[in-house]
């Protein structure tokens, strides 16, 4: 079960086209979508994983034909609707307004500099060690929420790779995106030989792809 955003390795795309890369925003509305999305991201109504999910849950045809900031806009509208922000009034929703954290200009730089680190030290002992070969689950998708957010790309499912980094325990997106808690999981960088991923057609036996993988996406030691 995948969604349209999970496109690593998908066939059929053409050449990479490079526009004028010094233009950061093509129009004023793109600037506004960007800054509104970042500002509302600090409101406490949702988190980064939830907003990623809102983007990838767009209908496939929309996901492919929308421009980057059109996707952001569609996702922002969906998040606002889902949280009933548009329809809320101070009179009817005083509790709601109390918990809302409005981003003030004076806090912008410190909040952006702090960001949202996802490392949670020492929450869980890692089962696997650097250097070990592990097999990735032929994953059915988010195990708690049917059709939910997940960060395991389709192209490594059922494949075997070697652990090259252990990053400590990190917030688990499959849980966090749906407000079911951070449930931190050991996070590894796992290196896959390209011929394991794409088959014997891949002409360079040394080339690899490295993917960051949370421990419960891993099936077993090989």
């Amino acid at each position: 079960m995948t969604r349209i955003h999970d496109m690593g390795g998908r066939l059929g795309e053409g050449k990479i086209s490079k526009e004028d890369e010094n233009v950061k925003f093509k129009s004023k509305w793109e600037e506004e979508v960007f800054s509104l999305t970042i500002a509302m991201g600090f409101s406490g109504l949702w988190n980064l994983d939830a907003s990623r999910f809102a983007r990838e849950a767009l209908e496939p045809v929309d996901y492919l034909r929308f421009s980057y900031f059109e996707k952001w806009l569609a996702a922002l509208i969906n998040l606002l609707n889902e949280n009933e922000v548009i329809s809320a009034t101070k009179e009817k929703n005083s509790a709601w307004f109390k918990k809302f954290r409005k981003l003030e200009a004076k806090n912008v730089s410190s909040l952006l500099e702090r960001g949202s680190p996802t490392l949670r030290e020492g929450i869980k002992k890692n089962k696997f060690e650097i250097g070990e070969k592990v097999k990735i689950k032929n994953f059915h998708g988010n195990e708690k929420v049917s059709g939910g957010h997940t960060r395991l790309p389709n192209y490594v499912k059922g494949r075997t790779g070697r652990i090259i980094y252990y990053h400590g325990t990190h917030v688990f997106p499959d849980s966090h995106a749906h407000f079911l808690g951070e449930n931190p999981e050991p996070l590894y960088s796992i290196e896959f030989v390209n011929q394991e991923l794409w088959g014997k057609h891949y002409p360079f036996s040394e080339d690899t792809v490295i993917v960051d993988i949370w421990e419960n996406y891993i099936c077993e030691k090989i």
Binding site: S17, E32, A39, Y68, V85, L103, V108, R151, D212
Partner: protein, 207 residues
Amino acid sequence: MEKKNNKYHNSFPLDPEARVKALKTILETKGLVEQEALDEILDTYQNKVGPINGAKLIAKAWIDSSFKNDLLEQTEKVLTELNLSGRQGEHVTVVENTSEIHNLVVCTLCSCYPWPLLGLPPSWYKSDAYRSRAVREPRKVLEEFNLLIPNSKKVRVWDSTSEMRYLVLPQQPEDSIGLSEDELVNWVTRDCMIGAGIPKRPGKFND
């Protein structure tokens, strides 16, 4: 727990300009956003944060092997000290290009990118073509950036699926050896810190 099939309305931003305007008006009227904060956000990513941040790190690493070692081994400590941490760069791993290995960074699931070090990603990095092809045929993709990787070199593609961000430490070009840190900064292009380019003598247009 079963999710409704249609949790999200799938709206087409037919006239995104009008939609954003309406949305912003609603949020402002309700007192949920303030213009000054929006301006500050834009100012940050339009004027304050950009590839120059990463370039300075690379130039310093080229001339200072102890700094290079720290940048590779204690990346987050170095970045925090230099005030180069922050949103979309909370966790960073620096990967070094060598004569044996060429590194390339992608995010196949969205467009994760080390904002505090490189600013916002270029459009090609966010394109479906790059996201789908970089992991499957990196050498063909690099050819489209005029980068021919010798058969003897290994290509390693980093797919940023977690909150870990990747910065490529390119090899210093032979003909830049001996230059000062300030001069070297101009050799380091944005693309070469993604792995989609190599450092170039300033004046050679790259990005």
